[in-house]
Symmetry: C2
Subunit: 79 residues, 2 copies
């Protein structure tokens, strides 16, 4: 099974990477951009074939390591 985890800064938390990309796009002439936010996408190949086990395990991985839950939100998709 494959888990796709998207980790993003919470609304209201300054996103310096996104701001930098936005300014760079502006200076390259891409005018029609109102906002840019950058996060991480983590693809985890899991040995288990049980969806519930996979979901619970990946949630714990996020809470423990993959996301800083003070300033980040995350979503989990199991395929």
């Amino acid at each position: 099974m494959t888990a796709v985890v998207n980790v993003f800064l919470k609304e209201g938390v300054l996103d310096p990477q996104g701001k930098a990309a936005h300014h760079a796009l502006d200076s390259l002439g891409f005018a029609g951009v109102s906002d840019v936010r950058i996060g991480k996408q983590i693809i985890i190949n899991l040995e288990t074939e049980d969806r519930a086990t996979a979901e619970a395990e990946v949630k714990e991985m996020c809470e423990t390591l993959l996301a800083n839950t003070v300033i980040e939100d995350y979503t989990i998709e199991i395929n």
Copy 2:
């Protein structure tokens, strides 16, 4: 309109971030993980409401700035 761009290292290119996360998960006791790959997810708010224009613009943004096309692949999703 919103564009979601996923930027990933090409197959065969070493992913040090992914390797580090994989080792960390192992040492935290998450045994059932066979591989971890980490990429960027970029969310771009566009002023245009025309899908074709948005797609073309974001593709050019990727080729110009957002992805290093020598070692990275990217996908674009327009919502």
